[in-house]
């Protein structure tokens, strides 16, 4: 089964961030190996006195990817909407990740401004994927507004702490009628597989790959972890029991009495 967001379909359930790689060559290889179809970007002022500065967009075959720019840097809904419109004017964007940070230390999202920005961008006709906390009620409210996917954080951005509240994520996934992409806080392939086993429709990660010792190898590990987690979810894990249940038959044992 493919992942569908609004009217777009994806084979890969890994969305990959493009920040903080050691260099563009490593980044390009990591992106290739990950087999991601969705790349995230940020919008920033250009250094107009350095026309030769390389840009990652020039290194990749842009037709192969859907671009999911974020509104990072915005602290209000209005700032997020402006950033989204700037990104949209590039003509390269298919979707927008609403990211309105409410706290500089934890980088946790501002729930009120996130709701507001989501509503404003939906009104403008954007395909909107809000980055949100793992708050269950807020996730529902974002969906009710018409968000095309919900992107709850596993733990604070770049922290690598993995899923700190799996129960909340499970509630969010169970109640959602739109895709749930676990975004932020993933540290290792185990975390990515965990998110997928909980029933997430995808995972968005960046630092876990770009900040690892070998981003290319980690990109492959994440791809496989997400595939494994998804298969495990679809297969349906066994129920947990308090005591052992032998997997070998009790009958016909030939030693002892």
């Amino acid at each position: 089964m493919m992942l569908t967001i609004n009217d777009q379909q994806f084979q890969s359930r890994l969305f990959l961030g493009t920040g903080k790689y050691p260099n563009f060559d490593v980044q390009k290889e990591a992106v290739d190996v990950s087999e991601t179809e969705v790349l995230t970007f940020s919008v920033r002022r250009m250094d107009i006195f350095d026309p030769e500065q390389p840009n990652f967009l020039e290194k990749i075959d842009m037709d192969r990817y859907q671009f999911l720019p974020n509104t990072a840097g915005a602290k209000t809904a209005e700032e997020a909407v402006r950033t989204a419109k700037l990104a949209d004017a590039s003509g390269l964007c298919d979707m927008i990740k609403v990211e309105v940070i409410g706290c500089d230390k934890t980088l946790l999202p501002d729930p009120v401004e996130t709701l507001k920005a989501t509503e404003m961008l939906l009104d403008e006709g954007f395909t909107v994927l809000p980055y949100t906390s793992d708050d269950v009620v807020l996730a529902k409210k974002l969906e009710d507004l018409g968000a095309h996917a919900i992107m709850p954080g596993a733990s604070p951005i770049g922290s690598g702490q993995g899923i700190i509240n799996p129960l909340n994520l499970q509630f969010i996934i169970e109640q959602a009628n739109v895709p749930v992409i676990v975004d932020a806080g993933i540290g290792s392939p185990k975390d990515a597989a965990h998110a997928m086993e909980l029933g997430a429709d995808g995972v968005l990660l960046n630092t876990a790959v770009s900040g690892s010792d070998d981003p290319v190898k980690m990109a492959q590990a994440m791809k496989q972890a997400i595939e494994a987690g998804r298969l495990g979810y679809e297969a349906g894990r066994i129920a947990k029991k308090d005591y052992a249940v032998a997997s070998s038959p009790k009958e016909g044992i030939s030693v002892g009495k």
């Binding site: 493009t18 920040g19 790689y21 002022r45 107009i48 026309p51 990652f56 390269l92």
Partner: protein
Amino acid sequence: MKLHINGDVIELEQQMSTVEELLTHLGLQEKPLIIEHNQSILKKEDHSSREIQDGDQFEIVHFVGGG
């Protein structure tokens, strides 16, 4: 002419008449970028027709790495 670009005041010796001319002057004409001119965001196809004047405000942005 004097322009406000990305928060800085930029003095240019030549007079520019369109956004496209300005980009060519800066060597940025082939770059994937987005321009906001006097608070209005331009599409790429508007660059050649949008006229500019002394004192105009510009934001020139592009996509950078991010998650």
